[in-house]
Structures are given as structure tokens and as C-alpha cells.
């Protein structure tokens, strides 16, 4: 073919535009949260009637077990609703929300991160405190290096880890150490509390500071050493519905459930304290 046929060229141009559009649509479709479609209508939600669809709940990493249980219980009593959990450090979740992630509910492990979200105008309901937590020293099972209190964390002969200062568990741990007047001989700043706990479980770290609930959820794989009241801190967990919530109704129902008697029982079973 030496001379190009203008009509043919036009057609192939139109064709390429079509392909481009199809490509963009494919990308756009996969960008949406896959779990957001309403569940199959085979079994309509008899309990609540109108509620349906999915909600995306961003919860602090330290709430992992609690929100797994809460979501399961909520889904059992609200048949049409599918709860999708997005679990990470509160500060990472905050950044996602500030960047416009389509989140319905935010449960933070501290006030600071929740306040930043509130200040940005992204919250439309709450925040409400729904649980409290405390700190403990976590050590590998059997406490091989014989840790007895916060002062042992100053010993450079032990391998000591904390959460990074930017993450709530790291911030609280540093406040607790400051109260006790101890400078930790730190060997690592872990990105979140689960990463810290894993290294303690494996015995790679001799001690770290985590939440009471984390030691409990490790079910014997780590041991907890009490931190006395005078050196401990009280941690509030606030929860809020977001202004950009794609499913505001179900989001409100989920928050009410978390704050209900039934929710409180689930939270207390995992070591949290009622507000």
C-alpha cells in the first residue's frame, strides 16, 4: 500500500478512539472498590429492610481483632450490608481519607489523627469515644531477658523496639517512657503495632511497648508486663462517620452498633475498656 486511503484512515482513527475509551473505562472500573456492589438479592435483608450495600470501615491496626468480630456480628444482624475493613496505622488511614479515599467510617487509635480529619471538614457525624485502652510491656513468651519494668528498656544489652513516633502506639509509648523518666535503648521503630508484635513473638526483640489488647490477642505467644498506673497512659478510641461516605445510612448503623451494649461486650472481651 503506497497511498493511504483517507476513509480508511478515518475509520481506523475512530476505531482507535473507541479502543482508548474502552481502555479508560476498564481502568476506571477496576479503580472502584470491588466490594461495593450490593450483595445478591437472593436473601433480602429482613432485619433492617432498607439498609444495603457495602461500607468501607478504616480502623486502626490495633483494632484488627475487635473490628473483625464487630463486622461479623453487625453483618449477622444486618443481612444486606457488607462491611469491608481497611486496617492500617491511624496516621496512614488519616492520610488516605484526606486524599479523598471513599471511606464511610473512621475509627482512630488516638485523638490527634481524628482531630486532623475533623479539622479538614471530612467528618459528618461524631467523633464519639467508643473504647479505651492501656499500655503494657510485651516480651517473648517466658520473658527470656527477664524484663520487669520500663527501666529495663534503657538497657542497651537488650534488643528493644517501639512503634514509630508518628504512629499512635509509638507516641503513647514515648509518653509513658517520659512519665517514667526512662530513655529507651532503641533498636527499631516499627511501622505499626502488628509489625512490632511479630518481632517480639519471634523473639527477635526482647521487649517493646504495645497495647494491653495486643498482648491479649497474641494468645500466649507474647507475655505482658504491667506498667504501673503512674507511668501508664489512657488511650481513647474515637469513631466518626465521614462526610464523603458513599453509604451514610449503613455507616451510621455500624457506628451505633459499635457503641451499643452488644458492641461493648465484644470490645471488652478483647481487653478494651468501656469509655
Amino acid at each position: 500500500m503506497t497511498t493511504s486511503n483517507p476513509r480508511r484512515a478515518e475509520r481506523s482513527n475512530a476505531k482507535s478512539r473507541l479502543w482508548l475509551a474502552a481502555g479508560i473505562m476498564a481502568v476506571a472500573t477496576t479503580c472502584r472498590a470491588p466490594d461495593r456492589e450490593p450483595p445478591p438479592s437472593g436473601e433480602p435483608g429482613q432485619v433492617t429492610g432498607e439498609l444495603g450495600g457495602g461500607i468501607l470501615v478504616s480502623a486502626a491496626a490495633s483494632l484488627t481483632d475487635a473490628f473483625d468480630d464487630l463486622a461479623t456480628a453487625f453483618e449477622a444482624s444486618h443481612r444486606g450490608v457488607d462491611v469491608v475493613l481497611n486496617l492500617a496505622g491511624s496516621s496512614a488511614l488519616r492520610e488516605q481519607i484526606l486524599d479523598g479515599a471513599p471511606v464511610d467510617v473512621f475509627a482512630s487509635a488516638d485523638h490527634a489523627n481524628m482531630d486532623r480529619v475533623v479539622e479538614s471538614g471530612a467528618v459528618s457525624g461524631g467523633p464519639w469515644i467508643f473504647a479505651r485502652n492501656r499500655l503494657q510491656i510485651a516480651v517473648p513468651r517466658g520473658n527470656p531477658s527477664g524484663v520487669t519494668g520500663l527501666s529495663d528498656l534503657a538497657d542497651s544489652g537488650r534488643l528493644i523496639g517501639l512503634c514509630a513516633a508518628a504512629v499512635p502506639c509509638g507516641d503513647f509509648a514515648r509518653r509513658s517512657l517520659a512519665k517514667a523518666g526512662v530513655t529507651a535503648a532503641l533498636d527499631t521503630d516499627e511501622p505499626d503495632v502488628r509489625a512490632l508484635l511479630t518481632k517480639i513473638e519471634l523473639g527477635e526483640l526482647d521487649a517493646g511497648i504495645t497495647y494491653v489488647t495486643d498482648v491479649l490477642s497474641a494468645e500466649g505467644r507474647v507475655a505482658g508486663i504491667e506498667i504501673p498506673e503512674s507511668e501508664n497512659v489512657v488511650i481513647d478510641y474515637p469513631i466518626a462517620r465521614l462526610a464523603a461516605a458513599p453509604n451514610a445510612e449503613a455507616a451510621s448503623a455500624f457506628i451505633s452498633f459499635v457503641r451499643s451494649e452488644e458492641g461493648r461486650v465484644i470490645l471488652e472481651r478483647l481487653g478494651f475498656v468501656a469509655p
Partner: protein, 271 residues
Amino acid sequence: MKPAPRFRGRRPVRRPPGLLLALGGLGLALFIVPFVGLLARTPWSDLPRLLSGEVATSALRLSLIASISSTGVALVLGVPLAWLLARVDFPGRALLRALVILPLVLPPVVGGAALLFAVGRRGLLGGPLEQATGLILPFSLGGVILATTFVSMPFLVITVEGALRSMDRRYEDAAATLGAGRWTVLRRVTLPLIAPSLAAGLLLTWARAFGEFGATVTFAGNLQGRTQTLPLAIFVALESDRDTAVAISLLMVVVSLLVLVTLRERWWKAL
């Protein structure tokens, strides 16, 4: 005077097909748009202050030490391994090849965890190692280098192995016929022949090591000045101090581009 066409039937330069242009352009946008985003978020006026801070300078130092060291280790261990895989026929070679490439496809976190189980303090070899030498790899610079080497060395091995397998072995045979010993053949014939691939492999290895995050944070932890490389510093800063995170990200992009562009111009043309 117009230069005459070099050979008959040469096609006139035409516009590339629309479909290729559209898809190729979309592919290019996939690479470029994120960097434009990064540049748009860069706090330009604060950049000197942010980059001269303790966090950025110590992380850059550690990143350079770790990536160059692991490239060195990969050179010393990876080239012999590639030679064995390419030249020695033994049962289970296909499986070994797959094992060597595994770190390329495995999530780096898995690699880091596997290293903990093997050479962590309570690991298979780590316990005896600590008892014998007092050496603890996790939470140390040595641990960072081990983790980055684990993740990046496969690039060197597959590049060099591929070159060794596809090269024309008659040159080696000819040299041997002319009386060159095996070592001389390797040094004077084989290595010069695969030099472009070796250079490309080293470059890819360095680049992968420079950007390593998952295996490092899992195995070696994260402590500023000891184990916190640039990617770790970015990850931590993203949550607390976004300007610093963006500044360090830009630093990584610039250093990587500089190395890739200059070295590729010099060495990589052959590929």
C-alpha cells in the same frame, strides 16, 4: 541535494498507527503522571532545608552503602552462580533456576520473614551464629545489606546466566584449542564477551537494592542512622511529615535517574 534512499523499497516515514499511539501513550502516561504528581507536591522553597536534615542525609548515606555493598556481594557470588547454572548440567537445575528467580516474584515481606526464620536471633542459623560469634544480623547494617542482596541479586544472576547461555561458545573453544587454560579463557574471552550483560545486570541489581523496602523493614527493622534507608525514611515520614517524605522521594528519583541515564548511556547500548 537530497540524500538518495539507502536501499530500494524503503518505506516513507508515516504517522504511526493510531491504536499503537493511543495505547503506547497511555502506557507512557502511567509512568509519567505519578512523577508529575510528585513534582506538584514538592515544597521547592523548603527543599534545601528538608534535604540537609539529619533524617535525609543519614538515610541517603545508609542507602548508598547498602545498595553498593549488595551489588558487590552480588558480583562476587552471583557471577559464579550464574556460570554454574548456565554451564554445568546437573539434575534439578531447572528447580534451582526457579529458586534463584523466586525473590523477583515473591513479596519482599515474605523474603524478610524468611530471612528472620533462617538467620534471625531465634532462626535456624541465627542462634548458633550469635552463640559462636556474638553477631546479631537483624536490626544491623549487615542485616540491611543481607536483605537487599537477597532481593536484588536475582537480577544479576538471570542477566549473566542468559548471556552465558546465548553466547557463541566457539570463541571459548578456539581459545582452548590455542592452548589457553580455563581461567585464561574465562578472564580473556568469556567475561569480555558478556561484559555488556554483566554491566546491565549490575545496574539493575543496584537499582533494585537502592529502592528495597519490604524485606529490609521486616528483617532489619527501622532505626534512623543505623538501618533506616531512604525508602524506610519515606515510609515513616509519609505519616508524620509529608514535606520531608516528598523531598526524600524526589532525592531518590533524581539519584536513580542520574545513575540509570549516565550508566546506561555508557554501558547499556549493547543491549
